[in-house]
């Protein structure tokens, strides 16, 4: 069933365009990678604030409010460009273990954000300016950092594992 979906996607006109165009893939990939700097830079800074390492004198709620729009925007661009790259060669992408691992870890990173928002993030007012951030916030930060390192490593791995064009 899923294999048929991949084949259908591969056969679409759009997928063919992504594959055959000389510029589509390099341009989309460049946007994907450059947006990563925006996203990762902000994510690392936010995680470091959660760990109580940087921006210690700023209210946690304020840092979250300032960072979130940029994080969401960067994430959205990466999802769109990522989907476009996938469309270019869905069967090859899916055939690599790195791709599947990356997708699982992306889902886990999303879950981490949801859990944070539903638990300690909701009570942010209670620890807004605490010199030492709560353990749960620190765990969320470490999980996020580890997952993003692995997501990037897996993303890089896909490029090496893909069969040559």
């Amino acid at each position: 069933m899923f294999a048929r979906f991949l084949q259908w996607l591969y056969d679409t006109h759009f997928s063919g365009m992504m594959r055959e165009s000389l510029w589509a893939e390099p341009v989309v990939e460049t946007i994907h990678v450059l947006t990563l700097t925006l996203f990762l830079g902000f994510a690392v800074m936010l995680d470091m604030r959660l760990l109580g390492v940087v921006l210690k004198r700023r209210r946690m709620s304020e840092v979250l409010a300032q960072f979130n729009p940029w994080l969401f925007a960067g994430f959205a661009v990466m999802i769109v460009t990522g989907v476009l790259l996938f469309c270019g060669d869905p069967i090859s992408f899916w055939s690599t273990t790195f791709f599947k691992v990356k997708m699982i870890m992306l889902a886990l990173a999303g879950l981490n954000v949801l859990i944070f928002n539903a638990t300690i993030g909701r009570k942010v007012a209670q620890w807004d300016l605490d010199p030492r951030t709560p353990g749960q916030a620190k765990i969320a930060a470490v999980v996020s950092l580890v997952l993003w390192v692995l997501i990037i490593a897996a993303g890089r791995g896909i490029a090496y594992a893909l069969p040559p064009p």
């Binding site: 390099p26 990939e29 460049t30 990678v33 450059l34 990563l36 700097t37 925006l38 996203f39 990762l40 830079g41 902000f42 994510a43 690392v44 800074m45 470091m48 940087v54 921006l55 700023r58 304020e62 300032q66 940029w70 993003w148 390192v149 990037i152 490593a153 890089r156 791995g157 090496y160």
Partner: protein
């Protein structure tokens, strides 16, 4: 003269033991590249944060100088990781890179961006917020973003350029 020196340096890197080791190993290159990318994320992030502040697009309540002091160790640390990991990656195909215009562009922008960041950009970010006008601050931020984007685009481009060995040997003969 400079060309001969540069090419000699590239050949020395190419033949170095680390150049050999990373080239021969299946996993060392991707391993080093991951550090390069992670540091890129942090470096890009800190530069963006500062420039967004200069342009008053984010962190408006924070003083620019305070923010600059806060992100400085991260910026310098990630730049060092990028330079070291980049040098290691370069050493695996240094002679090829010598003739690669994407790489040449990247090095030019890297030099300009680094000098700019630690001189003009640093001066403006560390100054009191009222000292320089908003137009100048936006201009300084835009120049910084353009210079660093140049480094990134050159880096992307070099992977797509295939330098033929013959064109490199032509340079050797000249």
């Amino acid at each position: 003269m400079i060309r001969t020196l540069l090419l000699g340096f590239c050949q020395w890197c190419n033949n170095s033991f680390w150049g050999h080791a990373i080239r021969e190993s299946t996993w060392l290159f991707p391993f080093v590249e991951i550090f390069h990318l992670l540091a890129l994320g942090i470096l890009g992030g800190t530069i963006l944060i500062l420039n967004l502040r200069l342009m008053r697009l984010a962190f408006k309540t924070e003083s620019t100088a305070e923010l600059a002091a806060e992100v400085k160790p991260w910026m310098i640390g990630s730049l060092i990781v990028m330079l070291v990991s980049g040098f290691l990656l370069f050493s695996t195909e240094a002679v090829k890179m010598y003739g690669n215009w994407g790489f040449q562009l990247k090095m030019l922008f890297l030099l300009l961006a680094t000098i700019y960041t630690f001189t003009i950009h640093r001066r403006i970010t560390l100054a009191d917020d009222g000292r320089f006008g908003p137009a100048l601050r936006i201009f300084v931020a835009v120049v910084s973003l353009l210079l660093w984007s140049g480094v990134g685009l050159g880096g992307r481009a070099l992977g797509y350029i295939t330098t033929s060995v013959s064109s490199v040997s032509m340079l050797l003969l000249r």
